[in-house]
Every structure is written in C-alpha cells, then in structure tokens.
C-alpha cells in the first residue's frame, strides 16, 4: 500500500470508520450504474473511504459525480479525501473556478426560486405555490441543503390536489429523510403514504414504499420487520422506480440476509424460497438464494462460507455497512443453534470444523452464547464435548407448582401481617413528624453487624 493510502486509512480508522481490505466482488462502474440521483455520490464516497483496493477509483468517480451535480460541499469533501489518499492524482486539486461559479450560480438560483415563490404566494394560486415549493425543494436538495429541502417539501403538503402530487410529496420527504438518516421520520412518512391511493398508483409506488420502509427498519435494527418489508417488494415493477434508494439486487440481498438473521427454517422456506415475488428479485443475487437454500437444508457451514465470501461487498453497502457484523453474528449463532438441535452431544472438534474461525475458538463462542441464553447447552472442556440440554417439562411443572405454593404461603403471611399492622394503627405515617417518629436516634438500633 502506498504511504499516502496508508496514511488516509489510518486517519479513517481513527475516526471509527469501517475499513475493508479485501477487494469486493463487484465492478465499480457496473455497480454504480444501477443507481440514480444523489445516492450515487453517497455510495461512491462510502466505498472511497472504506475499501482499500477501490479507494482511489471510487473517490475519483465520486469527484466526477459531484462535479456533474451542484453540491459544492460534497465536491470539497471528496477532494479532501483524495488529497490525502492520492495527492498525485490530477483530481486531487480543487477546481477553484468551477467551485466559485457553481457557488455563485447556486446562490442566484436559490434567490430566484425564493422570489418566484413569493410571487406565487401573493397571487394565491395553489398549484403555482406547490410547484414553487417543489422546485425550491429540489434545488436545495441538489445543492445539499437537506434541512431546507425537507422544509420546502413539507410546505407542498397543504397545496396538494391530486393523488399523484400527494405521492410525489411523500416520496420527496422519504428520500430526504433517508439521506438524513432519520429512520423514524422515514417510517412516519411512509405510513402517511400507505393506503390512500388508487389501486394502480399504489401498485406502481408499492416497491418504493416497501424499500424505504425496509431501509428505515434496518436502520433501527428491527431486522425481522425490515426483512418482511423487503420480502413484500413487488418484483413486477421495474427497479428504476426505486433506484434512487436501492437497486433490485440490493433489495434481494437485504431481504435475504435479514430473513436469514431473523427467521427460522420453516419461515425461510415459505416466505423466502417459496415467495414467487421475491424469487424474481433473488435471481439477481444467486448466492443469497444459495445461502438461504443451504440454511434451510441444514448445511450451515456452506451457508456461512458463502456469506463470508461476500462480506466485503456488504461492508461497502451504504445501508448494510453498520449492521453487517451484527447480522452475520446473528446468522452464525442461529446456524450453531440449528446445528445442535438434532444432537444430544457433539464433540467440540466437529463444531470447530463446521464453524471454526481463525480469530476465535469455538469453545469461547459457545460459552458466550450459552451465557447470553441463546443456546441451551453445556460444555465439557475435558472430554471436548457439547451436550445440549433437553427441557424436562415434568420437572419444570413440579418446580412451578412448588414455587406457586410457596409464593401463596408467603403472600398469605404478608397480607395477614399488613392487616395486623393496619388494624393496630401502626403504619408509617410521616409528613412533618417523620423527624421525630420515623427517624429514631442512631444509637437506638444502629449496631455493627457481626458475622459468626
């Protein structure tokens, strides 16, 4: 690795960023061509400061992407990064002339739209006000003022007159909220959109809403709900309708991974593999389909191996990056639990062969899982065995019965005692008198406890 790159990634590491050393399996140009809108830059930039092999390429593409748009702030950000990572590249110097003219143009445009909007407002024509707000919102979004954009889009709401316009407002707000990473807001906007349109329009917009909802739930770590949302995406609608958020293959990956992390085998079979809608999407990413199929048929190590080989890809995904480790460990522990179900006793060596990882001994991992209550088993470190515990409903019942009887007795005694105290008028009653009554002198009762 070149010195400058090393320096750049040390910096990123210090800032707590994720760093991926392995090359991903995708081709950068092909990958980015799946997307439209501002997410292209976000994705490129994320790859630029996370992936070691793709760093320079991605940052250069990001700079080019930024220059095509109007957001000067993003341009500066990308160039700053490239200046550290690869100072010798021609793109690593600021294009001052472009910056100045662009900033000036942006200012002029903002002012122009604001004056126009003012004019419309004076004329009290609803449609014009709506369009004025929309134009302003779009402009502010494109120059990176997301707060302003959200505000402008929200102002469109009172002047909406057709279902189409209503949908547009909602989509704008959802998109901006996703960019701002405000997951709660995304859900709120999506739920406002649901169920109010005509059937046809609803069908066209359904994938957009489901994808947005899924991303929001993923952001809030509600994996199961997110998975269900992704699995419900209507595959007959072209991916271009939601490619400003994610591509169809992304949807398949999110849906598949999250389902793996949160569902059991039967559920996976019915709602993932047998789901004809989702199956079409899964065709974009055959490895996920294979992983799910392996899991369902009980070949857990194969499933994990497939997922592990794609880990770098998912670490470079804009929405998955933060959750990959968590999702993977969930899948892993699920695999281990499922693996142990049919056995009463498994040797640690077999487990290590199936799930072994170089960085952590399987024994420790199992111990952690047992401790957290995820796994019902015991480890025998001397004979290197894992024995699963079968729940004994009889013993449980007996315990519960005895426990219940004991509780009953205690409660009965307690209640009798309270009745006695209340009848004798001995309850605590304090208020102002507490100083005298409630707090007797220290010497009266405070005695050092002695241990025999």
């Amino acid at each position: 690795m070149a010195d400058s790159l090393l320096q750049f990634f040390t910096l990123m590491d210090d800032q707590g960023g994720v760093i991926v050393k392995e090359p991903p399996r995708f081709d950068l140009d092909l990958y980015i061509s799946n997307y439209r809108g501002r997410t292209r830059f976000d994705r490129l930039f994320l790859i630029g400061h996370s992936s070691v092999p793709l760093c320079v390429d991605a940052l250069k593409a990001a700079i080019a992407e930024a220059k095509r748009g109007r957001d000067t702030h993003r341009y500066r950000e990308a160039v700053e990064c490239l200046r550290i990572a690869a100072p010798s590249e021609p793109e690593a110097t600021f294009d001052q002339r472009w910056l100045q003219t662009q900033e000036a143009n942006n200012q002029i445009e903002t002012n122009r739209l604001l004056t126009e909007l003012k004019g419309y407002k004076n004329n009290l024509i609803k449609e014009s006000i709506r369009m004025g707000n929309e134009d302003l919102g779009k402009h502010l979004e494109s120059i990176g003022d997301l707060n302003g954009a959200a505000e402008a889009y929200t102002k469109m709401r009172p002047d909406v007159s057709t279902p189409k316009q209503f949908l547009d407002v909602g989509k704008h707000l959802v998109r901006v909220s996703i960019q701002r990473r405000e997951w709660g807001m995304v859900s709120a906007h999506v739920s406002k959109l649901g169920g109010t349109q005509h059937a046809e329009e609803e069908r066209a917009v359904q994938p957009y809403l489901k994808v947005a909802q899924g991303i929001a739930l993923l952001g809030q770590e509600k994996y199961k709900d997110a998975a269900l949302s992704f699995l419900a995406v209507d595959s007959s609608v072209s991916g271009s309708s939601y490619n400003e958020l994610a591509s169809p293959s992304d949807v398949a990956v999110y849906g598949g991974l999250l389902a793996l992390a949160s569902m059991d085998r039967k559920e996976l079979q019915t709602s993932v593999l047998d789901n004809s809608q989702f199956r079409t999407l899964l065709e974009h990413v055959p490895h996920i389909r294979r992983a799910v199929a392996q899991f369902v048929s009980g070949r857990y190590s194969a499933c994990i191996a497939i997922l592990e080989s794609y880990r770098p890809d998912y670490l470079l995904d804009i929405y998955l990056q933060k959750h990959t480790a968590n999702i993977y460990s969930k899948i892993r522990s699920k695999c281990i639990i499922q693996y142990l179900i049919p056995f009463s006793c498994v040797s640690l060596d077999t487990m290590a062969k199936a799930f072994g990882r170089p960085d952590q001994a399987i024994e420790d991992e199992l111990a952690e899982m047992i401790q957290s209550g995820a796994l019902q088993a015991r480890i025998n470190t001397i004979d290197k065995l894992v024995t699963t515990i079968t729940v004994n409903p009889r013993a449980q019942m007996q315990q519960a019965a005895l426990q219940a009887a004991e509780n009953y007795e205690r409660q009965a005694l307690d209640r009798l005692r309270w009745m006695g105290l209340v009848a004798a008028d001995l309850e605590l009653k304090g208020g102002r008198k507490m100083g005298v009554q409630g707090f007797p002198g220290q010497g009266d009762f405070a005695m050092e406890e002695t241990l025999g």
Binding site: A367, I370, Q371, R378, I379, N380, T381, I382, D383, T387, N392, R394, A395, Q398, Q399, A401, L402, A405, E406, Y408, E409, A412, L413, D414, L416, R417, W418, M419, G420, L421, V422, A423, A424, D425, L426, E427, L428, K429, G430, G431, M434, Q437, G438, F439, P440, D444, F445, A446, M447, E448, E449, T450, L451, G452
Partner: protein, 485 residues
C-alpha cells in the same frame, strides 16, 4: 399457713372442670383470692418462701407466680434458690392459667429482659421458652419480643432466641375496639386474643419498634449467616405499610442497604424491589440506596474491575460508617465464588486452569495466581455446600471440576410428599387466617367501611341505570342503541 396452702392449691381442683365457662369463673375468683392473700401484711415476711415448696409450678401456675413475685419483693430467699425457682417456673408453667395473670407474668418477663436476674444468655433462653409456651404459634408481637431481640443481639446470645425469631409475626398490639366473646380459658382461643392484655401495652410499641424488631432479627440471622432468613426479615422491613405516599423510615434505608448486600450473597444478583413496597419508600430508597445499587450492578458484571472500582471509590470508611463493612467484605469475597458457580450454567466439566483464567478475585480484580489457590477456593465451596461438584485429578490429565447437576425431576411420591408438606403448612395458616378475619369482623372501622361500600354499590347501580336511560333518551332511538336491551 395451712389456710394459705388451701387457698393456693384451691385451683385447679383435682377433678377438673366441666366446661370452659366454669374454668373461667373459677380462675377469675382464684386470682382475686390469691391477690388478697399475698396482700396481707404478714404473708411475705413469714412463710411465702416455704410455701413455694408446696406449690407445683406446672399445676398451680397462678399461685406459684404470685408467690414468686412476693418472695422476690420480700427478698426472703437466697438469690440462687430464687433463680432456680424462676427458671423451673418459666419452663413448666401452665399457659392457660397464666392468661389470667398476664400483667404479673409480664413483670417477670420484664425482669428477665432487663438482664438483672440472670446472665444474658440464660435470660434469652428462658424468655424464648416462656414466650413460646405462652404463644406456641409465635405470631403475636409483644413488647417482650422487642426487648428479647435487643438483648439477644447486643449480648451475642442469638442462638437460644432463634426458635422465637424464626416465627412470622402477624398480630400486633394496639388494636382498638376488639370484642372477644369467648372466655379466656377457651383452648381454641387464638393467641392474639389473650396476648397483650395487660394495661398499657396497647400504646407501648411504635412503628419504629416493629421495624427495629425485624431489622435486629435480620442482624441476628446475618450473624448466623442464615442469608435466606436474613433476607426475608429485611424484606419485611422494606414492605412495611405506609399510610401516605411519602413516608419512609431511616430503618428502612438501613434495611434496604443490607438487603441488597444479603441478596448478593444469597442469589448472586441484585434483588428486585418487592412490588408491595410503599410508594414513598420506593422513591426514597431508590435515591438513598444508590451506592449499594451500583455495587450490586458491578457485582453482576463479568469482570471484577468495576466492583473493585466501586468499592474503592466508596472506601472502607464509608461502609464502616454505614455499619456494613463486614457484610461488604464478605460480598467482595463472594464475587469470585459466584463467578465460579455461574460457570455451571455453561460447563459440565472444566479444568481448574480454565476456572483460574476465567474468574477474578474482586479484591485484586485479577485472576488468582495459582491453580492451587483456585482448588482451595473450589474445595471450600464444595465443603460449604454452596457448590455441588467434585474435583478430579486423573493420571496424566488436567485437574478439573465436575459440576454435579441436581436431579431435577422428582419421583411422583417425592413430589406428592413435598406438595403435601406445603399443603400442610398452608393448613397451619388457617387458624391465623381465621383469627385475623375474626378480628377484622369485629373491628368498628371495617364494619363502617363495609356498610359504606354496600351503600355505594347500591347507589352506583341506580346511577348507572339513570344515566343510561338519559343517554338513550338523548339519542335518536332509531339508530339501534337500545337494540340489545
């Protein structure tokens, strides 16, 4: 003198009584006669001491008690003899007769508790025996109980008092407006009806006395390292009822702090606050018990560092001021034991070396230095019955600990036996429940409340009917609101 003997032995007559009512009236007149006798000026001086030998303490308890007090008042017997008579009397008296002489008996018990007659350990033993003879259920609190526990704890004579301390107190003195129709001699009379009858006892205990009683009981159990009982006793302090929503006693605060520490020793985790706590106590304790709650939280963590840090940040000084230093030290010692104990949730067999690496001593926040130390600790735990397991050292293999899991499933017979035992215990509660309900039934406040409640219920129904009719009248009758009626 012969006349005196005749009076003293007059009760009970050799033939016994036909029924309780006869016994009652005979006992009452006997008490009066004996009192008259002992009030005579020449009685004490001349022959009271000799009379003691003629009267059987187990049979003629009323007479014997009066004689004892008279003799003690006149100082006409050597101290050693007097004490011997006292102890024989306290161990053998007839509880039914003593019901009629409760104030005189109370004087004897006060003498015992004051510690002036007997050395403390004997006094505690005699008091316990006497109180339990009088009230075998041990369910009624008397001022003597409070005095006893203080005496026992301060003089380090806990053991003889244990049979009494282990009983659950349910009835307290000071209930007003009770009406007892049965004669005192009725053998089925609940203890609550004949205990605490001496004048003045009604007002003699305050709530702080009762809180203190339970706290001292807990301290006694802590001294005996009976964590379960100590924990229960402390919980009684915590769940003490309050009339308003802001009262909290300082004794409760003290009990709460000890309760957390005892809970850690008993269960290895922070106990959850009982749901039945008074609101004021709940609030105050949550605020005042902060240092102990953070100790508890640190205790539950997987590494000893934060426990050590918490302890050191508060300092031994703090705990000794709070009178909890010894308990706290024990908690620190027990941290590693609980860590080891918790390993049984994960392992069936584990090498000592692994135990050493995985657990830390809270005193140093580091694993023990050698395997031998761990072995010593584990062996101690096994010996004390805290851990069920064995240490094995196979030839050429690693020394390891085998956790023996108790056989959870009980056989049908065992289970039935256990359930029977519980049912039996519940049945034993029945007289207590009956007594409590009788007391409640005769209390004026309750009857007032009940009458109010019934009235309210009646009014409530009427109101409901009226309001329903009104709403229906206001509504459009065609909408089908009344369709169901």
């Amino acid at each position: 003198m012969d006349q005196a003997v005749a009076v003293l032995l007059n009760f009970p007559p050799p033939g016994g009584f036909a029924d309780d009512a006869q016994y009652h009236s005979a006992a009452q007149s006997h008490v009066l006669e004996v009192e008259k006798l002992t009030a005579k000026a020449d009685f004490n001086k001349s022959y009271a001491a000799q009379l003691l030998d003629h009267v059987n303490p187990a049979l003629n308890s009323i007479s014997y008690l009066s004689l004892l007090l008279a003799v003690r008042g006149a100082n006409s017997l050597p101290q050693a003899d007097l004490l011997a008579k006292f102890s024989v009397f306290l161990c053998t008296f007839d509880a039914r007769q003593i019901r009629y002489r409760s104030s005189a008996f109370s004087v004897v018990l006060d003498l015992l508790a004051s510690g002036s007659l007997f050395p403390a350990s004997v006094a505690v033993d005699l008091l316990t025996t006497a109180l339990l003879r009088l009230d075998p259920t041990g369910s009624v609190l008397t001022p003597h109980h409070v005095a006893l526990v203080k005496l026992a704890y301060t003089t380090d004579a806990v053991e003889p008092a244990l049979p009494l301390l282990e009983k659950d107190i349910i009835f307290y003195p000071g209930v007003k407006g009770l009406l007892e129709t049965r004669p005192l001699s009725d053998p089925d009379l609940p203890p609550a009806a004949y205990m605490n009858r001496e004048p003045g006892v009604q007002k003699s205990l305050s709530h702080s006395d009762i809180l203190e009683y339970d706290l001292l009981r807990a301290l006694c159990f802590i001294q005996r390292r009976a964590w379960r009982q100590a924990f229960d006793a402390l919980e009684r302090v915590l769940t003490y009822p309050a009339r308003d929503s802001h009262s909290c006693s300082k004794i409760m605060v003290e009990a709460h702090n000890k309760w957390i520490l005892v809970g850690l020793l008993l269960n290895g985790k922070v106990p959850t606050m009982p749901a039945t706590m008074a609101a004021g106590a709940q609030k105050s304790l949550a605020a005042l018990g902060k240092p102990y709650q953070s100790i508890g939280k640190a205790f539950e963590e997987n590494t000893a560092e934060s426990l050590k840090a918490e302890y050191e940040s508060l300092g031994a000084q703090f705990f000794s001021q709070e009178n909890n230093l010894n308990l706290m030290r024990l908690v620190m010692q027990h941290y590693q034991r609980w860590q080891i104990l918790n390993l049984r949730q994960v392992y069936t067999k584990i090498s000592l070396e692994q135990i050493r690496a995985r657990t830390q001593s809270a005193e140093t926040a580091a694993p023990l230095a050698t395997e031998a130390e761990i072995e010593k600790l584990v062996q101690e735990m096994i010996d004390e019955g805290m851990l069920s397991g064995v240490i094995e050292r196979p030839d050429g293999g690693l020394a390891h600990l085998i956790f023996v899991s108790p056989n959870e499933e009980l056989s049908e017979a065992e289970f039935a036996q256990k359930m029977m035992r519980t049912a039996q215990r519940l049945k034993e509660l029945e007289p207590l429940v009956k007594a409590a309900s009788e007391r409640l039934g005769t209390s004026r406040d309750y009857i007032k409340y009940l009458a109010g409640q019934q009235k309210k219920e009646k009014d409530g129904w009427r109101d409901y009917d009226a309001s329903f009719v009104n709403t229906v009248e206001d509504e459009d009758l065609m909408t089908g609101v009344v369709a169901g009626y």
